[in-house]
Amino acid sequence: MSEEFKVEIVNPEKSFLVKDDVSEVVVPAFEGEMGILKDHISIISFLKPGIIKILSKSGQESYYVEDGIVEFKNNNLSILTSAIFNLADINKSKLQDLLKQAEEEASKTDMNDQSKYLVDQKIDVLRSIN
Protein backbone atom coordinates (compact mmCIF):
# COMPACT_ATOMS: atom_id res chain seq x y z
CA MET A 1 0.00 0.00 0.00
CA SER A 2 1.35 3.35 -0.85
CA GLU A 3 2.02 5.71 1.99
CA GLU A 4 1.92 8.83 -0.09
CA PHE A 5 -0.41 11.76 -0.10
CA LYS A 6 -0.81 15.03 -1.89
CA VAL A 7 0.42 18.40 -0.74
CA GLU A 8 -0.42 21.74 -2.24
CA ILE A 9 1.09 25.03 -1.19
CA VAL A 10 -0.62 28.15 -2.46
CA ASN A 11 0.28 31.77 -1.95
CA PRO A 12 -1.92 34.67 -3.03
CA GLU A 13 -0.15 35.10 -6.33
CA LYS A 14 -0.09 31.53 -7.53
CA SER A 15 -0.05 27.87 -6.73
CA PHE A 16 3.41 27.63 -5.27
CA LEU A 17 3.95 23.91 -5.17
CA VAL A 18 1.95 20.78 -5.90
CA LYS A 19 3.34 17.37 -5.10
CA ASP A 20 1.51 14.07 -4.94
CA ASP A 21 4.22 11.68 -3.81
CA VAL A 22 4.81 13.02 -0.36
CA SER A 23 5.38 10.66 2.54
CA GLU A 24 5.66 13.11 5.40
CA VAL A 25 5.27 16.84 5.99
CA VAL A 26 6.40 18.66 9.10
CA VAL A 27 4.76 22.05 9.60
CA PRO A 28 5.44 24.65 12.29
CA ALA A 29 1.91 24.76 13.71
CA PHE A 30 1.01 27.42 16.20
CA GLU A 31 1.22 25.11 19.15
CA GLY A 32 4.36 23.33 18.08
CA GLU A 33 5.77 21.35 15.21
CA MET A 34 3.34 18.91 13.69
CA GLY A 35 4.21 15.94 11.54
CA ILE A 36 1.58 14.81 9.09
CA LEU A 37 1.49 11.32 7.61
CA LYS A 38 -1.00 9.64 5.36
CA ASP A 39 -4.51 9.15 6.80
CA HIS A 40 -4.12 11.85 9.36
CA ILE A 41 -7.42 13.01 10.82
CA SER A 42 -8.97 16.08 9.13
CA ILE A 43 -7.43 19.09 10.74
CA ILE A 44 -7.25 22.86 10.42
CA SER A 45 -4.50 24.76 12.11
CA PHE A 46 -2.42 27.82 11.52
CA LEU A 47 1.27 28.35 11.29
CA LYS A 48 3.84 30.38 13.07
CA PRO A 49 7.07 31.42 11.38
CA GLY A 50 9.22 28.38 10.81
CA ILE A 51 10.37 25.69 8.44
CA ILE A 52 8.14 23.36 6.47
CA LYS A 53 9.85 20.07 5.70
CA ILE A 54 8.49 17.94 2.91
CA LEU A 55 9.74 14.39 2.57
CA SER A 56 9.11 12.63 -0.68
CA LYS A 57 10.73 10.04 -2.92
CA SER A 58 12.88 12.68 -4.48
CA GLY A 59 14.30 13.68 -1.12
CA GLN A 60 13.69 16.36 1.44
CA GLU A 61 12.75 19.95 0.72
CA SER A 62 12.62 22.78 3.21
CA TYR A 63 10.69 26.01 2.99
CA TYR A 64 10.68 29.01 5.25
CA VAL A 65 7.18 30.38 5.97
CA GLU A 66 6.08 33.41 7.92
CA ASP A 67 2.45 32.57 8.44
CA GLY A 68 -0.31 30.48 6.99
CA ILE A 69 -3.10 28.02 7.45
CA VAL A 70 -2.94 24.28 7.01
CA GLU A 71 -5.90 22.17 6.12
CA PHE A 72 -5.69 18.41 5.87
CA LYS A 73 -8.61 16.48 4.45
CA ASN A 74 -8.95 13.19 2.57
CA ASN A 75 -5.20 12.89 2.23
CA ASN A 76 -4.96 16.33 0.72
CA LEU A 77 -2.80 18.79 2.56
CA SER A 78 -3.35 22.43 1.64
CA ILE A 79 -1.06 25.08 2.99
CA LEU A 80 -2.11 28.69 2.47
CA THR A 81 0.61 31.18 3.13
CA SER A 82 1.36 34.74 2.19
CA ALA A 83 5.12 34.50 2.52
CA ILE A 84 7.12 31.41 1.59
CA PHE A 85 10.68 30.86 0.39
CA ASN A 86 12.50 27.75 -0.69
CA LEU A 87 15.50 27.41 1.57
CA ALA A 88 17.58 26.20 -1.35
CA ASP A 89 16.89 29.38 -3.32
CA ILE A 90 17.14 31.90 -0.55
CA ASN A 91 20.47 33.63 -0.18
CA LYS A 92 22.25 35.12 2.78
CA SER A 93 21.50 38.77 2.07
CA LYS A 94 17.78 38.07 1.69
CA LEU A 95 17.82 36.29 5.03
CA GLN A 96 19.63 39.22 6.59
CA ASP A 97 16.99 41.57 5.23
CA LEU A 98 14.18 39.50 6.68
CA LEU A 99 15.95 39.30 9.99
CA LYS A 100 16.50 43.03 10.08
CA GLN A 101 12.85 43.66 9.31
CA ALA A 102 11.75 41.31 12.05
CA GLU A 103 14.09 42.91 14.56
CA GLU A 104 12.75 46.33 13.71
CA GLU A 105 9.25 45.05 14.25
CA ALA A 106 10.19 43.52 17.55
CA SER A 107 11.57 46.80 18.83
CA LYS A 108 8.14 48.38 18.61
CA THR A 109 6.52 48.57 21.99
CA ASP A 110 2.87 48.80 21.12
CA MET A 111 2.00 45.25 20.20
CA ASN A 112 -0.04 42.55 21.85
CA ASP A 113 1.34 39.36 23.29
CA GLN A 114 0.45 37.21 20.35
CA SER A 115 2.14 39.28 17.69
CA LYS A 116 5.12 39.74 20.00
CA TYR A 117 5.37 35.99 20.30
CA LEU A 118 5.16 35.58 16.54
CA VAL A 119 7.87 38.13 15.87
CA ASP A 120 10.15 36.52 18.44
CA GLN A 121 9.56 33.19 16.79
CA LYS A 122 10.46 34.67 13.44
CA ILE A 123 13.72 36.04 14.75
CA ASP A 124 14.62 32.71 16.34
CA VAL A 125 13.99 30.78 13.15
CA LEU A 126 15.83 33.25 10.97
CA ARG A 127 18.83 33.22 13.30
CA SER A 128 18.91 29.45 13.31
CA ILE A 129 19.05 29.13 9.53
CA ASN A 130 21.41 32.00 9.09
Binding site: P12, K14, F30, I44, I69, K73, L80, S82
Partner: protein
Protein backbone atom coordinates in the same frame (compact mmCIF):
# COMPACT_ATOMS: atom_id res chain seq x y z
CA UNK B 1 -15.83 74.48 -47.08
CA UNK B 2 -12.46 73.69 -45.62
CA UNK B 3 -9.53 74.27 -47.87
CA UNK B 4 -7.45 71.45 -49.24
CA UNK B 5 -4.62 72.25 -46.90
CA UNK B 6 -6.86 72.13 -43.85
CA UNK B 7 -8.24 68.77 -44.88
CA UNK B 8 -4.77 67.40 -45.39
CA UNK B 9 -3.74 68.53 -41.93
CA UNK B 10 -6.82 66.98 -40.36
CA UNK B 11 -6.22 63.67 -42.07
CA UNK B 12 -2.66 63.64 -40.83
CA UNK B 13 -3.69 64.39 -37.27
CA UNK B 14 -6.42 61.73 -37.18
CA UNK B 15 -3.95 59.24 -38.60
CA UNK B 16 -1.42 59.94 -35.89
CA UNK B 17 -4.12 59.64 -33.23
CA UNK B 18 -5.03 56.33 -34.74
CA UNK B 19 -1.46 55.18 -34.45
CA UNK B 20 -1.46 56.01 -30.76
CA UNK B 21 -4.73 54.25 -30.02
CA UNK B 22 -3.60 51.25 -31.98
CA UNK B 23 -0.39 51.04 -29.99
CA UNK B 24 -2.31 51.45 -26.74
CA UNK B 25 -4.65 48.68 -27.76
CA UNK B 26 -1.78 46.33 -28.40
CA UNK B 27 -0.09 47.18 -25.13
CA UNK B 28 -3.38 46.66 -23.30
CA UNK B 29 -3.85 43.31 -25.02
CA UNK B 30 -0.43 42.13 -23.88
CA UNK B 31 -1.01 43.38 -20.35
CA UNK B 32 -4.47 41.87 -20.31
CA UNK B 33 -3.10 38.44 -20.93
CA UNK B 34 -0.73 38.76 -18.02
CA UNK B 35 -3.37 40.23 -15.74
CA UNK B 36 -5.76 37.47 -16.65
CA UNK B 37 -3.16 34.84 -15.90
CA UNK B 38 -2.47 36.44 -12.56
CA UNK B 39 -6.15 36.57 -11.73
CA UNK B 40 -6.49 32.89 -12.52
CA UNK B 41 -3.41 31.96 -10.52
CA UNK B 42 -4.71 33.89 -7.56
CA UNK B 43 -8.01 32.13 -7.53
CA UNK B 44 -7.05 28.91 -5.68
CA UNK B 45 -5.86 30.89 -2.67
CA UNK B 46 -9.02 32.89 -2.17
CA UNK B 47 -11.20 29.88 -2.89
CA UNK B 48 -9.37 27.72 -0.37
CA UNK B 49 -9.45 30.52 2.15
CA UNK B 50 -13.17 30.91 1.66
CA UNK B 51 -13.68 27.20 2.05
CA UNK B 52 -11.75 26.98 5.28
CA UNK B 53 -13.63 29.91 6.75
CA UNK B 54 -16.91 28.38 5.69
CA UNK B 55 -16.01 25.12 7.36
CA UNK B 56 -14.92 26.96 10.47
CA UNK B 57 -17.90 29.23 10.84
CA UNK B 58 -20.32 26.39 10.25
CA UNK B 59 -18.62 24.37 12.93
CA UNK B 60 -18.60 27.24 15.37
CA UNK B 61 -20.34 26.13 18.51
CA UNK B 62 -20.84 29.50 20.16
CA UNK B 63 -22.30 31.79 17.54
CA UNK B 64 -22.97 34.57 20.03
CA UNK B 65 -19.34 35.08 20.84
CA UNK B 66 -18.06 34.79 17.31
CA UNK B 67 -15.34 37.25 16.33
CA UNK B 68 -16.70 40.66 15.41
CA UNK B 69 -15.20 40.47 11.93
CA UNK B 70 -17.56 37.58 11.25
CA UNK B 71 -20.70 38.56 13.06
CA UNK B 72 -20.48 42.34 12.96
CA UNK B 73 -20.67 44.90 15.71
CA UNK B 74 -24.40 44.44 16.14
CA UNK B 75 -25.26 47.76 14.56
CA UNK B 76 -25.09 49.27 11.11
CA UNK B 77 -24.54 52.92 11.75
CA UNK B 78 -21.32 53.75 9.98
CA UNK B 79 -20.49 52.37 6.58
CA UNK B 80 -17.00 52.26 5.16
CA UNK B 81 -16.75 51.96 1.41
CA UNK B 82 -13.51 51.05 -0.31
CA UNK B 83 -13.79 52.16 -3.93
CA UNK B 84 -11.15 50.55 -6.08
CA UNK B 85 -10.41 52.21 -9.40
CA UNK B 86 -7.45 52.57 -11.72
CA UNK B 87 -4.63 55.09 -11.68
CA UNK B 88 -4.78 55.69 -15.40
CA UNK B 89 -7.49 56.94 -17.67
CA UNK B 90 -8.39 56.12 -21.26
CA UNK B 91 -10.02 52.88 -20.35
CA UNK B 92 -13.58 53.40 -21.48
CA UNK B 93 -16.31 53.12 -18.92
CA UNK B 94 -14.15 51.22 -16.46
CA UNK B 95 -13.90 53.85 -13.76
CA UNK B 96 -17.24 55.51 -14.29
CA UNK B 97 -19.02 52.17 -13.99
CA UNK B 98 -17.53 51.59 -10.56
CA UNK B 99 -18.25 55.17 -9.53
CA UNK B 100 -21.82 54.93 -10.72
CA UNK B 101 -22.37 51.79 -8.71
CA UNK B 102 -20.70 53.31 -5.67
CA UNK B 103 -22.63 56.57 -5.91
CA UNK B 104 -26.01 54.84 -5.99
CA UNK B 105 -24.95 52.89 -2.90
CA UNK B 106 -23.76 56.07 -1.18
CA UNK B 107 -27.01 57.91 -1.74
CA UNK B 108 -28.94 54.90 -0.45
CA UNK B 109 -26.90 54.91 2.74
CA UNK B 110 -27.17 58.65 3.23
CA UNK B 111 -30.93 58.51 2.65
CA UNK B 112 -31.19 56.01 5.44
CA UNK B 113 -29.51 58.52 7.70
CA UNK B 114 -26.39 56.46 8.20
CA UNK B 115 -22.87 57.72 8.33
CA UNK B 116 -20.59 57.25 5.36
CA UNK B 117 -16.82 57.01 5.13
CA UNK B 118 -14.93 56.44 1.92
CA UNK B 119 -11.49 55.12 1.14
CA UNK B 120 -10.49 55.43 -2.49
CA UNK B 121 -7.89 53.17 -4.01
CA UNK B 122 -6.57 54.54 -7.28
CA UNK B 123 -6.41 58.20 -8.23
CA UNK B 124 -9.12 58.18 -10.91
CA UNK B 125 -11.82 57.25 -8.46
CA UNK B 126 -10.66 59.92 -6.08
CA UNK B 127 -10.83 62.54 -8.84
CA UNK B 128 -14.40 61.67 -9.64
CA UNK B 129 -15.66 61.30 -6.10
CA UNK B 130 -14.03 64.24 -4.37
CA UNK B 131 -16.28 66.76 -6.08
CA UNK B 132 -19.46 65.44 -4.47
CA UNK B 133 -18.25 63.37 -1.56
CA UNK B 134 -15.03 65.20 -0.77
CA UNK B 135 -15.78 65.56 2.92
CA UNK B 136 -16.52 61.83 3.27
CA UNK B 137 -13.23 60.60 1.85
CA UNK B 138 -11.00 59.72 4.75
CA UNK B 139 -8.10 58.35 2.75
CA UNK B 140 -6.84 58.02 -0.78
CA UNK B 141 -4.41 55.29 -1.61
CA UNK B 142 -2.66 54.92 -4.90
CA UNK B 143 -0.26 52.27 -6.09
CA UNK B 144 1.14 54.09 -9.06
CA UNK B 145 4.61 52.76 -8.39
CA UNK B 146 3.67 49.09 -8.40
CA UNK B 147 3.46 47.66 -11.86
CA UNK B 148 1.25 44.72 -11.09
CA UNK B 149 -1.23 44.10 -8.35
CA UNK B 150 0.69 42.43 -5.56
CA UNK B 151 -0.34 40.96 -2.26
CA UNK B 152 1.88 43.29 -0.29
CA UNK B 153 -0.15 46.32 -1.38
CA UNK B 154 -3.42 44.55 -0.73
CA UNK B 155 -2.23 43.61 2.72
CA UNK B 156 -1.49 47.25 3.46
CA UNK B 157 -5.06 48.24 2.60
CA UNK B 158 -6.41 45.25 4.51
CA UNK B 159 -4.45 46.07 7.65
CA UNK B 160 -5.64 49.65 7.54
CA UNK B 161 -9.27 48.57 7.23
CA UNK B 162 -8.92 46.18 10.15
CA UNK B 163 -7.23 48.78 12.28
CA UNK B 164 -10.09 51.18 11.66
CA UNK B 165 -12.57 48.45 12.43
CA UNK B 166 -10.91 47.64 15.72
CA UNK B 167 -10.94 51.25 16.82
CA UNK B 168 -14.67 51.29 16.10
CA UNK B 169 -14.58 53.74 13.22
CA UNK B 170 -17.15 51.83 11.20
CA UNK B 171 -19.56 48.89 11.40
CA UNK B 172 -19.92 47.66 7.85
CA UNK B 173 -17.32 47.58 5.11
CA UNK B 174 -18.03 47.19 1.42
CA UNK B 175 -15.56 47.08 -1.44
CA UNK B 176 -16.33 48.22 -4.96
CA UNK B 177 -14.51 46.81 -7.94
CA UNK B 178 -15.04 45.54 -11.45
CA UNK B 179 -15.33 41.84 -11.91
CA UNK B 180 -13.70 40.61 -15.08
CA UNK B 181 -16.06 38.53 -17.16
CA UNK B 182 -14.55 38.92 -20.59
CA UNK B 183 -12.90 41.62 -22.66
CA UNK B 184 -16.14 43.38 -23.44
CA UNK B 185 -18.00 42.83 -20.20
CA UNK B 186 -16.90 43.91 -16.76
CA UNK B 187 -19.44 43.85 -14.00
CA UNK B 188 -19.16 46.42 -11.23
CA UNK B 189 -19.42 44.67 -7.91
CA UNK B 190 -20.24 45.72 -4.39
CA UNK B 191 -18.98 43.12 -1.97
CA UNK B 192 -19.46 43.30 1.74
CA UNK B 193 -16.38 42.08 3.57
CA UNK B 194 -17.12 43.12 7.16
CA UNK B 195 -19.11 41.48 8.62
CA UNK B 196 -18.48 38.50 6.44
CA UNK B 197 -21.66 37.62 4.67
CA UNK B 198 -21.62 33.94 3.89
CA UNK B 199 -25.01 32.89 5.02
CA UNK B 200 -26.75 30.73 2.52
CA UNK B 201 -23.49 29.28 1.32
CA UNK B 202 -23.32 25.67 2.32
CA UNK B 203 -20.07 24.08 3.18
CA UNK B 204 -19.27 21.35 0.70
CA UNK B 205 -18.13 18.88 3.27
CA UNK B 206 -19.95 17.65 6.28
CA UNK B 207 -16.83 16.14 7.67
CA UNK B 208 -15.82 17.37 11.06
CA UNK B 209 -12.41 18.79 11.56
CA UNK B 210 -9.94 18.70 14.34
CA UNK B 211 -8.90 22.20 15.33
CA UNK B 212 -5.61 23.15 16.82
CA UNK B 213 -5.83 25.53 18.66
CA UNK B 214 -9.61 25.96 19.00
CA UNK B 215 -11.99 27.41 16.41
CA UNK B 216 -12.18 30.85 17.92
CA UNK B 217 -8.48 31.38 17.85
CA UNK B 218 -8.06 30.11 14.32
CA UNK B 219 -10.94 32.28 13.17
CA UNK B 220 -9.60 35.40 14.76
CA UNK B 221 -6.27 34.71 13.10
CA UNK B 222 -7.82 33.86 9.77
CA UNK B 223 -10.41 36.60 9.34
CA UNK B 224 -7.97 39.51 9.05
CA UNK B 225 -6.07 37.53 6.44
CA UNK B 226 -9.28 36.94 4.59
CA UNK B 227 -9.88 40.69 4.36
CA UNK B 228 -6.52 41.17 2.68
CA UNK B 229 -7.20 38.21 0.44
CA UNK B 230 -10.54 39.60 -0.67
CA UNK B 231 -8.99 42.97 -1.37
CA UNK B 232 -6.21 41.30 -3.30
CA UNK B 233 -8.74 39.36 -5.32
CA UNK B 234 -10.56 42.60 -6.09
CA UNK B 235 -7.28 44.17 -7.18
CA UNK B 236 -6.53 41.29 -9.53
CA UNK B 237 -10.01 41.37 -11.03
CA UNK B 238 -9.74 45.11 -11.34
CA UNK B 239 -6.44 45.06 -13.18
CA UNK B 240 -7.70 42.46 -15.64
CA UNK B 241 -10.87 44.49 -16.13
CA UNK B 242 -8.95 47.70 -16.60
CA UNK B 243 -6.83 46.25 -19.36
CA UNK B 244 -9.81 44.58 -20.99
CA UNK B 245 -11.80 47.76 -20.87
CA UNK B 246 -8.92 49.77 -22.24
CA UNK B 247 -8.40 47.28 -25.00
CA UNK B 248 -11.97 47.47 -26.24
CA UNK B 249 -12.07 51.25 -25.82
CA UNK B 250 -8.90 51.65 -27.85
CA UNK B 251 -10.15 49.18 -30.42
CA UNK B 252 -13.24 51.31 -30.87
CA UNK B 253 -11.18 54.47 -31.03
CA UNK B 254 -8.93 52.97 -33.70
CA UNK B 255 -11.92 51.93 -35.75
CA UNK B 256 -13.57 55.31 -35.41
CA UNK B 257 -10.36 57.02 -36.44
CA UNK B 258 -10.23 54.76 -39.50
CA UNK B 259 -13.75 55.72 -40.46
CA UNK B 260 -12.94 59.37 -39.99
CA UNK B 261 -9.84 59.08 -42.17
CA UNK B 262 -11.93 57.44 -44.90
CA UNK B 263 -14.53 60.17 -44.76
CA UNK B 264 -11.98 62.95 -44.78
CA UNK B 265 -10.08 61.36 -47.63
CA UNK B 266 -13.22 61.23 -49.75
CA UNK B 267 -13.93 64.85 -48.96
CA UNK B 268 -10.34 65.78 -49.77
CA UNK B 269 -10.41 63.96 -53.11
CA UNK B 270 -13.75 65.47 -53.99
CA UNK B 271 -12.67 69.01 -53.38
CA UNK B 272 -9.41 68.39 -55.21
CA UNK B 273 -11.36 67.07 -58.19
CA UNK B 274 -13.72 70.04 -57.96
CA UNK B 275 -10.81 72.43 -58.05
CA UNK B 276 -9.31 70.67 -61.10
CA UNK B 277 -12.64 70.68 -62.91
CA UNK B 278 -13.07 74.34 -62.15
CA UNK B 279 -9.64 75.11 -63.52
CA UNK B 280 -10.31 73.09 -66.66
CA UNK B 281 -13.57 74.92 -67.26
CA UNK B 282 -11.76 78.20 -66.87
CA UNK B 283 -9.07 77.18 -69.35
CA UNK B 284 -11.56 75.86 -71.89
CA UNK B 285 -13.83 78.87 -71.68
CA UNK B 286 -10.79 81.11 -71.92
CA UNK B 287 -9.63 79.31 -75.05
CA UNK B 288 -13.11 79.45 -76.60
CA UNK B 289 -13.38 83.18 -76.16
CA UNK B 290 -10.24 83.79 -78.15
Amino acid sequence: MASLDDLKKRIASVKSTQKITKAMKMVAAAKLRRAQENAEKGRPYSEKMNNVILNLSNGLSDKENAPKLLSGTGQEKTHLCVVMTSDRGLCGGFNSNIIKKAKSYFSKILDEGKELKIITVGSKGNDQLKRVYGDKIIKNISFKESKNANYFDADKVGKMVIEKFETGEFDVCTIFYNQFKNVITQIPQAQQIIPLNNEGEESNSDESYEFEPDEDEILSNLLPKNISTQIFKAMLENSASEQGSRMSAMDNATRNAGEMVDKLTIEYNRSRQAAITKELIEIISGAESL
